[in-house]
C-alpha cells in the first residue's frame, strides 16, 4: 500500500520534471514573467549539468522511483531498499537545490518547489516503510 502511494506520488514529480525539461529545452521558461521566478532559476548555471537540463535528470530519477515503487508494491524483493537509496539521494539533492534558490539565486520557481515537496513526501513514505520493515 505504502509503495503504491509512493508510485502515485512519484508520477506527480515525473509530470512536473517533464514539464520543466520541456520548458528548458524549448527555451520558453527562460522568458521573464510577471508571476514566476522560474526564468531566473532555470536560466541560472545551476539548472544544467554538463549541458544537460537538471530537470531531465530529475525526470529520469522520478521514473526510476516510480519503477522501483511499482515493483516493491508488487512484492519484488530488494526493490524497497534500492528505492530508499534513490529517494535518499534525491532528498539530499533537493535540500541543496532549495538552498541554492533561497540563498544564491534569490528566486523561487514554483515548479521546482513542487518537485521539492514531492521528494519530501516520497522520503517520508520510504522512511515509514523502512520503519515498518516493508521491503
Amino acid at each position: 500500500m505504502l509503495y503504491g502511494i509512493a508510485a502515485l506520488v512519484s508520477l506527480v514529480g515525473l509530470g512536473d520534471a517533464i514539464y520543466l525539461t520541456v520548458e528548458h529545452l524549448s527555451g520558453r521558461s527562460v522568458r521573464c514573467t510577471i508571476v514566476s521566478g522560474c526564468s531566473e532559476v532555470l536560466s541560472s548555471p545551476y539548472a544544467t549539468v554538463r549541458g544537460y537540463p537538471l530537470a531531465g535528470l530529475g525526470a529520469a530519477a522520478y521514473f526510476v522511483v516510480f519503477s522501483l515503487a511499482t515493483l516493491a508494491a508488487f512484492g519484488y524483493k530488494g526493490t524497497g531498499k534500492l528505492l530508499a537509496l534513490v529517494v535518499g539521494a534525491m532528498f539530499l539533492t533537493t535540500l541543496w537545490l532549495v538552498y541554492l534558490q533561497a540563498f544564491v539565486i534569490h528566486h523561487f520557481c514554483q515548479f521546482c518547489l513542487l518537485s521539492a515537496l514531492v521528494t519530501t513526501i516520497l522520503t517520508l513514505l520510504v522512511v515509514y516503510a523502512r520503519i515498518k520493515g516493508l521491503d
Binding site: V22, R31, T33, F74
Partner: protein
C-alpha cells in the same frame, strides 16, 4: 501474468511520458491576428485586435514606411531581453531604417525585477531629452553591472552624464508623471495583446514564438516578411 503486470505499468508510464514530452516540445504559435482592414472601411475604421495604443509616440528606430516592424516588449533587468538587445541592434544595422523599424515598449516586471522600473524610468527620462536609444543601449549593455546593485540611481545618473544629458532635468524627469504614464500605457498595450513575459516581440503585428527569437530563426522570419512584401 501478475509477475509481468508491474513491467507493463512501467512501460506504459514510460511511453506516456515520452509522448507527453514530444507533444509539449512541438512548437506552437500564439499568433495575434494580423491587423486587417475592415471592408469598405471609412477613414476612421479600426483594425482587428490592434490592442491598446501604448505610449505615444512610441520609441522607434527606423522609418514608418519600413516593410518590417518589430515591436519589442522589454524589461531592462530581464536577462533574455539583455541577450536579445545586441541581436536587434545588429539587425537594425544590417537591414537599415528603410527596411526594418524597431519599436521598444516598456514592460518592467515588478516585483520580480527590483530595478526594472528605475531602469525604465531612466530610459524614459533620457527620451525626454531626445536620447532614449542611447540610454536604452547603455542600460542593456551594462545589465550585469547594475543588476545586483543596492541602489541604481547613482549608476543611471552616471550613464546620463556619460551620454550628455542635463542631469538636473534627468533627475526631475525620472520621477515625473509623464514617465510613469508612458510606462503605464505601454503596460496597458502589453496586457491588451496578451503579453505574458519579456521579451515578447511582434513582427508586423504577429507574436513571434519565444523559441523563434534565436538570432538565426528571427532573421529567417524577417527575410520571409521582406520577400512577401516585394
Amino acid at each position: 501474468m501478475k509477475r509481468l503486470l508491474p513491467f507493463v505499468i512501467i512501460a506504459m508510464v514510460l511511453g506516456a511520458g515520452l509522448l507527453t514530452a514530444r507533444y509539449l516540445l512541438t512548437p506552437t504559435t500564439t499568433e495575434v491576428p494580423r491587423p486587417t482592414p475592415v471592408p469598405d472601411a471609412s477613414p476612421s475604421a479600426t483594425v482587428a485586435n490592434p490592442g491598446e495604443s501604448g505610449a505615444e509616440p512610441p520609441w522607434t528606430f527606423g522609418n514608418p514606411s519600413a516593410p518590417v516592424t518589430l515591436e519589442e516588449f522589454g524589461d531592462f533587468e530581464c536577462p533574455p531581453c539583455g541577450m536579445l538587445h545586441p541581436v536587434l541592434k545588429e539587425y537594425a544595422r544590417q537591414y537599415g531604417p528603410s527596411k526594418l523599424r524597431i519599436i521598444f515598449r516598456e514592460l518592467p516586471l515588478v516585483p520580480t525585477h527590483q530595478h526594472a522600473l528605475a531602469a525604465a524610468r531612466s530610459a524614459e527620462a533620457a527620451g525626454m531629452q531626445g536620447k532614449f536609444w542611447e540610454m536604452h543601449d547603455m542600460i542593456y549593455e551594462t545589465q550585469k553591472d547594475w543588476h545586483e546593485a543596492f541602489d541604481t540611481r547613482p549608476i543611471f545618473e552616471g550613464y546620463a552624464t556619460k551620454i550628455g544629458l542635463d542631469l538636473e532635468k534627468f533627475r526631475k524627469d525620472i520621477s515625473s508623471d509623464a514617465a510613469e504614464q508612458r510606462i503605464f500605457l505601454d503596460g496597458k498595450r502589453a496586457h491588451s495583446l496578451g503579453v505574458k513575459g519579456t521579451p515578447t516581440v511582434f513582427l508586423n503585428g504577429r507574436e513571434v514564438p519565444f523559441e523563434s527569437l534565436a538570432p538565426e530563426k528571427l532573421k529567417v522570419l524577417i527575410d520571409d516578411e521582406l520577400k512577401n512584401h516585394q
